[in-house]
Symmetry: C2
């Protein structure tokens, strides 16, 4: 048995659906595979889990190696383990998603030049392995979770306008009808954990919007009073 065959006899990996939002569309970060199997195909970033590495740590490492970012939101979603999902042996993979502020990401760092790319979620197709299925699971999870936990803010810069926030929700949820501006604002502000900064947008060719930020302490209070985030 060759070394490669031995290596892949039985192993586990992590794969990471890295979500970003550029103001218009929900995107994910894909890599182009440089080696077999599926050489040249687009895939989710992932790696085998090291023998002395926790699963969450492996997912965080994959993310950091690709983007340089630490301490981002990361959530385990599901484990995929079909017998034949990997052509070279039995490899199960634990799928994660992470949410990053896309502006923090310096596009395609040197080591990954021409091999990683942001792609609109709605344009992704025909990924390597079972990654289409993994993406579908992670996207479904995100859609649910974003309505029941204050995750959206992880995708926005620290200061944002309410329209940006709403556009984020519209992109993620992708509902047949967009959210109603007035109802959205009323609801999110009534929860009381968005605070107005003393600043407005600059350099826009229209009335500049107020900037808000997410106040985590106030969110904790909100929870302690028995309320739940629900949008």
């Amino acid at each position: 048995m060759s070394e490669v065959e031995s290596f892949f006899k039985s192993a586990f990996s992590v794969d990471n659906v890295i979500f970003g939002f550029d103001g218009g569309d929900l995107k994910i970060l894909l890599i182009q595979r440089g080696a077999a199997p599926y050489k040249g195909k687009w895939a989710l970033p992932g790696d085998l889990v090291y023998p002395n590495e926790d699963l969450d740590a492996a997912a965080a490492r994959v993310l950091e190696q690709l983007t340089g970012l630490k301490e981002v939101y990361l959530e385990q979603v599901k484990t995929f383990g079909s017998v034949n999902r990997h052509p070279l042996g039995r490899v199960i993979t634990i799928a994660y998603f992470s949410l990053i502020k896309i502006s923090n990401y310096t596009v395609t760092p040197a080591s990954f030049a021409q091999s990683s790319q942001w792609v609109n979620v709605s344009d992704v197709e025909d990924l390597a392995f079972d990654h289409d299925e993994i993406l579908a699971s992670c996207l479904a999870r995100l859609k649910r979770k974003v309505r029941t936990a204050p995750l959206g803010f992880e995708l926005l810069p620290p200061k944002f306008t309410l329209s940006e926030l709403q556009q984020l929700y519209d992109s993620v949820l992708n509902l047949p009808k967009k959210l109603d501006k007035r109802n959205f604002r009323k609801k999110i502000l009534s929860m009381g954990f968005l605070v107005e900064c003393d600043e407005v947008q600059e350099g826009v060719a229209h009335r500049p919007a107020k900037l808000y930020s997410f106040d985590r302490e106030k969110y904790e209070e909100f929870l302690n009073e028995g309320y739940v985030f629900d949008l």
Copy 2:
């Protein structure tokens, strides 16, 4: 040891939180370990995944070996993979929960005599490995899921009374205040997928209750009309 050899020493297992309901309390099925590590301790039923076995199939096998039951509700919850969670090596485990009709289960079949037992969820403590944590995750998932999908019926016999159904929800959700009988009935009946059988309870020392059953076809219609289960 080479890095390649290190990967070899890893394995993956499934563990299964098997929920049942006896009319009063929510229970899970535990086994007493007959071998090291944690010999004699109570644990979730589980096993290593065979090389040519899908993960879901492994979870179903564990369940069937213990209870004789097939085709039960089974859902993957989360994968636990701390480096030191297993004393004998790197073993990650994929946690599942399943829902069975407890009356179908012939208590402790021969091969497991004195080694498996139904335990009230609220009484479970100090399980082997990280199984306390696994149980907590599965219970949290069940609590959420039972309100947003018609899972409760998996725990009841095919024909049941509305009071039994409500007691099931009270047990699973374990809310500070019990559900209101009239509101519960109004809501669940308004969804239109519970059908009245032409039968009533027998042998009870009070007015016998009507029996109902869950009509899966009507539930599908309900979904197709754009409604969602929400309790």
